[in-house]
Symmetry: C2
Subunit: 453 residues, 2 copies
């Protein structure tokens, strides 16, 4: 039998992140100040982010060195394994070669730590004592709690109330790592108190939680704000995944014909696919496919337009695929994919025709995840289950055509925190939501007008 797992030595862990910005065939549209319509400058962002992260957001450098202190923490779970999915291939009877890059071996069980540790480090360097953030189902909140704990920073997480009540495990993980987690809306901010006064029983939303975290950071001298996806510096930190995967594929004497991952804000898949873009620009044939839920079809149905990153409309205007910042997606189990917008880098690459997108219903995603668990052994998180559906489709197409394609799957994490969703699927209770066309149309009618600079 051929080799199944491709490992790297500690010396082979990347020591720099790869920054795609200088290599883009066209520059990205600027991020705009919502009041003036002018491109934002570093000083606009300084109240809520440390300067090093702001500079990374706009950096012209191809490679940015990973500080030794961050590398030391990365070594707890990096290099993550790249597997050849021999058993899945056999079950599908496909000539395709399927590889997957697996981030579930980290202490938080997902890829989120790659940027959480970096963000905590740069904040620490610049004297931040405390970081505020929001979290939906808790994956990002727990990763940032871990990161802050590594560098002795306080961490305050505003967690959407319905998840806080229904999914206590990630909240407990945050507390285990020493963070403070409150249900949002909370009494700790003006935004939270105003909403509670109106509707004391609200289940909360990511938009409200962002408002609370940003207010917290803006009001306190010792506190900065942190975001777990979407932004350029977040994807930059995640490129450690793709850089490792390239080296590992070399050891497997393979190069992907197709790269498939899931996108919510785009940080896991962005981190995997970005290091392959220069090859594609140099003429290498490689298809790159983003997968998303049918009920939150940002890339497949949304326009490429300027919009806010948050529901309340507080953030700068970003050019991205969007369903409208007031759109609230149906409660699919893949909480990490329930976002109205998309990373501007991924949006730009799609706009340039470098990557494709596909939408998947959750029942089909979980069916594929079960196939994966029963062949490869790993129980995937609900988010990458969407990507697995498309991987299986591609592999079965290879069976039809006889093509021996090499497929790379970005497997962002394990599903140990999400087994209730598997229970719903296995007991036949999982449902698909109809395409929320009316709600999307309504939300798109509220796209912000871009002021003339």
């Amino acid at each position: 039998m051929e080799t199944t797992k491709f490992t790297l030595t500690e010396q082979e862990i990347p020591t720099s992140w790869y920054n795609i910005l200088p290599d883009l065939p066209e520059p990205m549209p600027p991020v705009l100040h919502p009041a003036t319509g002018k491109p934002v400058v570093p000083d606009d962002l300084a109240p809520i982010f440390p300067m090093e992260l702001i500079m990374q957001e706009m950096s012209p450098e191809q490679y940015i060195e990973i500080p030794e202190e961050i590398q030391n923490i990365y070594r707890l779970w990096r290099p993550t394994p790249l597997f050849r999915a021999h058993r899945l291939e056999k079950a599908l009877d496909t000539p395709a070669k399927i590889f997957y890059k697996y981030e579930g071996v980290s202490p938080m069980g997902s890829h989120k730590g790659n940027t959480a540790v970096a963000q905590a480090y740069y904040n620490k360097q610049e004297g931040t004592k405390r970081i505020a953030t929001e979290t939906g189902a808790g994956q990002w909140g727990s990763a940032l709690s871990f990161g802050c704990n590594c560098f002795g920073l306080e961490c305050k997480v505003y967690m959407v109330r319905i998840s806080y009540d229904q999914k206590p495990y990630r909240r407990i993980a945050m507390e285990t790592w020493g963070a403070t987690c409150v249900p949002s809306p909370s009494k700790d901010t003006e935004a939270g108190r105003a909403i509670l006064a109106q509707d004391p029983d609200t289940s909360g939303s990511l938009g409200i939680a962002i408002s609370e975290a940003v207010e917290d950071a803006a009001k306190r001298e010792d506190t900065k704000y942190s975001l777990g996806s979407v932004l350029n510096h977040v994807l930059l930190h995640q490129t450690v995944e793709g850089l490792e995967a390239k080296k590992q594929l070399e050891k497997a004497d393979a190069y992907p014909d197709v790269i498939i991952g899931c996108v919510g804000g785009g940080s896991n898949f962005g981190g995997v696919l970005i290091p392959f873009i220069p090859d594609k620009l140099a003429g290498r044939k490689v298809r790159i496919i983003c997968t998303e839920p049918e009920s939150c079809p940002t890339m497949t149905r949304g326009p490429y337009a300027y919009d806010h990153g948050d529901v309340a409309g507080l953030t700068p205007l970003i050019k991205m695929y969007t369903l409208g910042h007031t759109f609230v997606p149906p409660p699919v189990h893949a909480g990490g994919l329930r976002y109205h917008g998309m990373s501007p880098i991924i949006s730009h690459l799609h706009h340039l025709g470098l990557i494709e997108a596909a939408a998947v219903h959750q029942v089909a995603a979980f069916k594929s995840a079960i196939t994966f668990a029963r062949t490869e052994g790993i129980i995937p998180a609900p988010e990458p289950a969407h990507a697995i559906k498309i991987v299986i489709d591609e592999a079965l197409a290879c069976k039809e055509s006889g093509e021996q394609k090499t497929i790379l799957l970005a497997l962002s994490g394990h599903g140990h925190f999400d087994l209730a969703a598997y229970d719903a699927y296995l007991s036949g209770k999982l449902i698909d939501y109809a395409y929320p066309g009316d709600k999307i149309e309504e939300a798109l009618s509220h796209l912000p007008t871009v002021p003339v600079a």
Copy 2:
């Protein structure tokens, strides 16, 4: 900074398990037939175990080759990492060097897969179609479900009812891997029906679940029974852990002065410590310390005596440390340590003075686990939390004495399934149970009489 993680190449994964039996300075007391008092022979065990596992139970061979098919599955998570706990050492301000061997990167989040895969393989080889087993909190049941799925065997798990109701996540993992899991007592066996007729609302016990699984296997031609700890062949399969750890420590240019792990049935720690026993017998100074709950203090308070492995008294008589087979431990969160007996190999080694034992209260164990999570980043399962308490004690003793001891910790798994226990600790609700002396005395009064052969 020094290296943190010590990896092995795929070529360095052990290809044989190490069998301690021929190297013991005194042979182990025989396992006795409960009716005749005579040593059991392979044919006595043939109705419930495949012959290869029975032969491994009594093998005179020092090394037993790991079949290629098992190695292929092991590669999904093996070699597991050995870490140097730099951040924990720094937090404790100790001159001790602490290493830990971490099994939480496996698909089931613990070490149990190492034997589950092997047992499923040998059953498959001998024509078994279906395996029945019992599980408490579900760690073993989920691992065996995984193992059976790898080789296309059906798996039926009898899960103690109170855990089935209160801890659904591992039950869902079993079903995700294709197993059938029923609450025990169930209507599927005579033993289960009899108990339900007497007490329809019983919360069940491991003893009842064993009776059901053994009955299931004994009654069906296509079915065998499987046990996840205690037995010699189970510890044999787990030696892959200790064999890897020795190679990794060599790369770290280190050899342990102290090896510390937790013991329920003894399979994780047995697997780690056994490969170090030959060195100790050859004169190398190494302390080996088993840790257990104060409320289930088998090694520290129990006699070394012949007893049954199950509560119902169906199994052969094994010479081991025991609290009496009718003893039901208090409901501590470390479900994997709630066992009245102990692996006969570990018992024998302790009786020979080769290993020591220490008991720990659960509040102290969780306090240590929080220290570990906040320094090393990994949230430990409640079971190895007990070992971490003793590791910290040893490291602090080194601080007092100035000794630069090397400590090896066996970290059997992550605590992602056990966060409710962390919640109880963090909210001040976790309690310690008093030493259950009266219940132990009562249970010891029911130790079986060994028939004269």
